[in-house]
Each structure stands twice: as structure tokens, then as C-alpha cells.
Amino acid sequence: MEKNGLKRTALFETHTALDARMVQFSGWEMPLLYSGIAQEHRSVREAAGLFDISHMGEFQFDGPDALEFLNHILSNDLAKLEPDSGQYSLLCQDNGGVIDDLYAYRLGQDRYLLIVNASRLEVDWMWIKAQCNSNSKSLQLEMTNRSGELSALALQGPKAAEIIAGVFPAAVELQKNQIAELDFSGATTWVSRTGYTGEDGFELVVPNERVVSLWKQFMSLGPALGLMPAGLGARDTLRTEAGYSLYGHELTAETTPIEASLGWAVALDKPDFIGRETLAAQKQNGVSRRCIGFKMTSKSAPPREHYKIFAADGTGREIGEVTSGMQSPSLGCGIGLGYVESAHAKSGTDIEIEIRNRRFLAQVVKRPIFRKLD
């Protein structure tokens, strides 16, 4: 549905009935928060949170050539995936610049699903179609952009498995990154044990006309276990604490997966793929800048996107820029992600962040930036 040029998910009325604060996000009107970002964040860390992620895109690929085609356009190796499981992957240009980051699932022998960012959906689809059309041989491949007919939810947190068991008992058996096709009142539903919060959890893809009923089922079972609806605000603080990249911030067409410290999602050992030459050279020769996670170590205002990063080695040289920054609800201090010259990218390195013309001490840390104590 579209209103005032902004798209609305099938859950729009559900959000407004919950008194959500709605914001514009990538052409969509989405909930920023319901009760409060920090509270929703904590509920995901300690119990569970339910997110509407229907704005994300779903592309389906069927046919005997699907694997070969997708492995040519994606950085990670789909051939290594067991059926019914997924992996994080990147769509790159020839020069290695990132078009989008996504999750790729192998649903069956010749069926694949890509879940892509809302902000990149149209760019991705055009790029993928162009790659398909430029292929010299005629491919036995059917590609379908199902984003318009499908909705999606993310159920995240330590109590997510207990809550999902009330609706999909079989989902509890899924291992991390596995996906299953389950039935929800007659509708095919994809349930995967994945998420972008750093917690255990599930992502569910359902037809638009069933998502309200699925949301209501979770919200009738979940609150007894601490489940709260959670908005984009908490989604952003959770993924930043987990050290995960977000397109438009850590990832752009001007950054490569190697610079973004996502080399683990680049399978240089598979047959040729788009961007391989640049990425292989970068992996071998090194890169001049790298994406890091950092934590403020002095009392300061929270770091924010575009704040400058300086060396703390006495030279006071500018060495980079913050790409995501915020007050961490879990740690109670400022945290962020950013790019620095590679010489300063090692964890434990002191750096300085410039906040309103004053510099404050911070430290490069391993990701995840926030890790729960066992």
C-alpha cells in the first residue's frame, strides 16, 4: 500500500494501534519505536522482540542454472550450502564495490531465495536482471521479485525459541542459519534461524494477507515471556552492538567487502565471480583502510555518523570517519563503527573521536562490540 509517496507494510494499522512513532525509511513508513528504543533493545537482549521487516525484499530463483548464476554474482560460495540453509553474502560490482549485503538461502536442489535491503531492492533487481541478460548462454533460470506479495517478521532474543514453539513447533529444531518451509493456516511460510541483532532468533516470510494474524499470534503468546514489539531504532542499536554492517553506512559502492572486514563472506576459492579480481588483489596486498568497531573510553557525548577519527599516537593525524555511532543501551557508553587507516585497525589501538570540536579517547575493539557474559 502507498500513501503520500511512502509505502506501508501490511502491519501499518497494527503499528499505529500500538501508538508506534512512525518514520520514513527507504521510501517506507516504518515504526521507529513503540515504548522506547532502550527498553525495546533490552527486551531483545533479555527476553524477545518482534520486528516488522516487511520492507525487505525477497527474490526467488528457480531452475538448474540458478546455482551457477547466483554464484557468479555473489561473493560467498552458495555451493557450500547444505539444502535448507542460508549464508550472509555480498553483491559486488566489477571493482569490488558493494551493491548490497544480503542473505542467500538454498531452499531445494534448484531453488534459492535472496533477502535484500529495502533501500537497495530496486537497484539490486535491475543489476541482477542485467547480469542475467548479459549472460552469453541462455540460462534455465526463472527469477521472481516476490517483495510485493510477501511480508516478513523477525522474532529475536533468548526467549524467541520458546515463543515460536507455540506457533511453529518444528522451528525449534532448526540450527543456526537453517531454513524450513512450514505451514501457517494454509500458507507457505519460510522460517529461518537467523537475524541481525546478535541474539538467537528467527526470521519469518509470509504472504501479506497472513502477516497480521501471525504478528497477533506472537503478541498473544509472547508478552508472558517478555516479548515486546521493537522498531527500527532498537534494530539499529542491536546490530551496531553486534558489529554488523548496514548498507549506506559501513557498506557503499565505494567500499569493498575486504575493506569492510567482511573477507569471511568472500569465497576466493570458488570459480570466477563479479569483483573477484579486485577482492583477491586486496586480500593479498592488503587495503589502506578498514572497518573497525570502537568503544568510547572517556566520558563523552555519543559518537555519531561522519564524526572524524584521529590517531592517538601523539601525531594527532586524521585517520578516518565514523559510519555508525550511538550510545550503547547494553554498555551504557558510546560505541560505533567506522573506517580508519589499516595501521590503526588492530583491536586494542587507542583512537580519538572528534565530538563538537573536542577530541575524546576511544579504543578499537573486536566485534561483536557487546558480548553477553556466559
Binding site: 512513532r21 528504543i37 531504532g233 542499536t237 557525548a301 555519543p302 555519531r304 550511538m326 550510545q327 543501551p329
Partner: protein
Amino acid sequence: MSDIPTNLKYASSHEWVNVEGDTAIIGISDHAQDELTELVFIELPEIGRELTAGDPCAVVESVKTASDIYAPVSGRVIETNDALDTEPGTVNEDPYGDGWFFKIHLANPKELDDLLSPDDYGEQVNV
């Protein structure tokens, strides 16, 4: 509907002013704290700083964003609410009481006439 006490004056940029003689106590409105969401850091002006009406003079940071707070009237800063340094959330809980920001010695009391009445401010935020 947000709370708008009738004994205060307001700036269209959402600060409130409570006048006591030649001193003005300044804070942000209930509507402003609600829009900003949970505050996690507040930077107040230094004591002694001379403010001109309209100057950005404080910064409030929520989990997500930083926003400027403007001086609703001119004057010298004579006291700041240092408790906000450790408990910025007080502004969300009690914006007109313990969540005050700073006090100034008024430089030009006539400027108070340019501020909004509670009714006018209410019209601005509740339409």
C-alpha cells in the same frame, strides 16, 4: 496531548522559561522530551557564558540523534543542573521540575514578550 504548565512561557523551539525576578530558569517542554525520546547525554552551557536569544547553547542526545537547544532569551548563565550529567533521563521523567537545564540572569526582560503563552504553544504542538 503533552503537559503544558500555565505558569511558564515557551519558545517555538520547545524550550520553557520560568521567570523569578531577574532570573529565568530554562528547560525543554514535555512535548520536546517525548519527541526526542530517551535522553542519554546532555551538554549544558558553561557558567558565565553570555547567551543571545536564539543561540544554540546546549545539546541533548537521545540513543539515536543529537539535537541543539536554543537560548529562548538573552542573559548570562548563572547556574546549571549538574545532576543531568549523571541522570539525563530526569528530563524525560520530570521536564518541568528536576529536569531543568540552566538559569540565566536576564539581559533584556522585554524579550519575554516575544515568547509564546501556554495556549499559543499548545496550539503549536497539539494541532
